[in-house]
Structures are given as C-alpha cells and as structure tokens.
Symmetry: C2
Subunit: 191 residues, 2 copies
DNA sequence: GCAAATTAATGATTTATTCAAG
DNA sequence: CTTGAATAAATCATTAATTTGC
C-alpha cells in the first residue's frame, strides 16, 4: 500500500539538524490545497489575524508556523506576477501585432486582489474587498471567531469535501482565539 | 520612574488607531545612540536573537518592539548603501579620471559587514564575518542574558550612562562559526 | 530497480522601492 | 525632508523530480 501520506514528519516538524542543514517546511498536499483555495479566492495577502487562522487550520494537517504561511503567500504573489509578466513578454515577442498588453500592475497594496491566474479555473473570483482589519479594538475580540472570518468560510468548504485518505473531518472550533495581550505596537508588522 | 521629560508616548506605546491611523515608533535619542553604536560596530544585520536582546535593551528607554528594531536596521542599511552609491556617483561625476570606482557590492548577504561609512574615521574595520547564529536555546529571556554577548557588551557601555560613544572598536569575536545551524524550522523568519 | 548526479520547484532571506507619519 | 513601516523583486538554499548509469 502506498501510504503516500505516511510520512508524518514531512510536515516539517522535524527540523533537527545536528549537521548544519536547515530543513524547510514541506507543505502537505492538503495544505497546499487550502492555501491555493484561499489565494484563488482573492485573499492574496492576508493580514496577520487571518494568517494565524490559516496557520491553525493548516496545522491540522501537519506542523506549520505562521511565518511559513506568510512566506507562502509572499512567494505565491511574487511568482504569480513574474509568470504573468513572462507570459506577457512572451506573447509580445510572439505576436507580431503592436498590441502590447501592458498590464501594469498598479501595486495597490490592498489585501484582496482579483487573481487573474491565466491557467487557473477562475473558480473563486471574487471579492476585491478592502478589509484592512486593524487591531481590533473594535469588537474583534469576541472569542468565538468574532465576525466574518474568511478562513471560516473556506473551512466550510472543506468540511466533508476533500476526500483525503484517512482524514476525518471533524468540526473545528478554534474559538479560543489567542488574543494578543501584548502591547502591539504594530499590528501588521513583519512579525 | 524616570521622567525623561518629554513625550512619554513618543516611545510608540500608543499606537491605538481607532480611526486607522497608525502612529509609528519614534526612537528616543538614547535608543538611536544604542542602535547606531551597534550598527557602527559592524553588526548591520542582527539575527533574531540579537534583535530581541537589542529590543530589550532599548525598551529601558521607551516602548519598542522587535519589529521596530528590525525595521531600523533594515532602513539603516538601505539608506547607508544608497548614500554611498550617491556619493560614488557624485565622485565619479566630479573626478575627471576614468577611474570608475565600480564598487560592485557582491551581495554578500553576510550579517556582519565592514561599515564603510564615508564620514567615519574608518576605525572599525572589522570583520565581515559570516555568523548565522542560530541560537536555539530560548534562554534569552530576562535580562540575565545568556550565551550571546554582543549586546551585553554594548550594554556595559551604557550601564549607568550613555557615555557618548567614541565608539571604540574593540575586538569583535562574535562566533565566527560559519555553520548555519538552525534547530528551529524557521528560526530567523520574518517574525 | 536502485542510487548518485542533475535539474526543476519552491521555501526562506535579503535588498530595493514605495507609502505615509512627523 | 527625514524616516519608520510595508511590500515587491531578487536571490539564496534546500527539497522533490528527473535523468543517467550500473
């Protein structure tokens, strides 16, 4: 049997390196699915709060840290753009027409952005919402997940969807949101 | 309680933004002194462990977060470089000779770098040591300090008074271990 | 069929650029 | 204008695919 999911340490929980090689996180297929789903839904740059939620969600499938999630999104954005540009350049080189599709990305540092992945199925699509989500002194504390949690919605989709071998979809309730009691000087800093 | 006789909130502890305006950290003169001292000593890109120590040290003079310290060093490096380049360009424009001082920085992403500040007396010179420093022992808590000594050394200078820096360059012997050991999967992540 | 060598993907760092508060 | 904060681009380093030789 190919327990292709057998390696539990693949999640990166083992970074023990007596030598000098730092092991990096290797996301599991399920994790990648979740991440891509979120990304494709338009949240290409989740704020810290959301990132933490995502991490907690991913953690159910393997060890992962907040930074890993952050890196993942960062790299995804960067590479998405690069490929888009390459394709543009490529097309420009191929097409003899003068139609230079100069799709200049306007660097709107908004968090949600319409992902125009070329190859993607374009399932999500959706919302270019501007949710800056600042430290929520405004009522975000509510323990139980507070208000509209983006991640929660996605979780719904996954509860009973992904047919993973050996994964029981239980109802997760990460209500106990680890509120940051520290004096946050900057909510959305680089961590 | 020391009354620094000045803006108390300047430390940045107040970043409450009910509106959405983030107030940014305003380092106190003492803090700047410490930071510059460390920077001038050759540590231009302190690893996380050291950053935390620095933060704790700075915190004695006002609220400050790890990220603030990180940003400060980042901006300092950037600014330093840019100015250097400008000066080079400027000099090149002035000098009629063909000696184009193409000081191509070879992107040695080392943490310690010879600070070639133009104005400085060029004393330091230190060592472009590659020290990845991966701590590992989380015993860096409290002021007790632990293994690291860099910040502590600086602290010595400050213990009692900020005796203006002549910035004496002592012998730096930081680590010098080029082995990149990293127990944690992402010790030096972006926070 | 396997294991070393090579290449392709991609996670993690660092640098350059930009935005905005003071 | 200065400079802290944030992000995107570029780069490095490690892991997975793959090729190659036996």
């Amino acid at each position: 049997m190919e327990d292709h999911g057998g390696q539990e340490d693949a999640g990166g929980s083992r970074e023990r390196n007596n030598e000098g090689v730092r092991s990096r996180w290797t996301p599991k297929p399920e994790q990648i699915l979740i991440l891509e789903s979120i990304f494709n839904s338009g949240m290409v740059n989740p704020p810290k709060d959301e990132t933490v939620r995502i991490r907690k969600l991913l953690e159910k499938f393997g060890s992962v840290g907040d930074a890993n999630v952050f890196y993942w999104f960062q790299n995804r954005r960067s590479r998405s753009r690069r490929r888009q540009r390459q394709q543009i350049h490529e097309a420009a080189a191929t097409t003899t027409s003068h139609a230079t599709a100069t799709q200049q990305q306007q660097q709107q540092h908004g968090y949600y952005q319409t992902t125009n992945e070329s190859g993607g199925g374009g399932s999500g699509g959706g919302g270019a919402i501007h949710q800056y989500e600042m430290s929520g002194s405004s009522s975000s504390s509510g323990g139980g997940g507070g208000g509209g949690d983006f991640v929660n919605e996605h979780l719904c989709s996954f509860s009973g969807e992904i047919g993973f071998p050996g994964i029981y979809n239980g109802v997760h309730k990460w209500g106990a949101n680890r509120s940051r009691q520290g004096p946050d000087r900057h909510e959305r800093n680089v961590w």
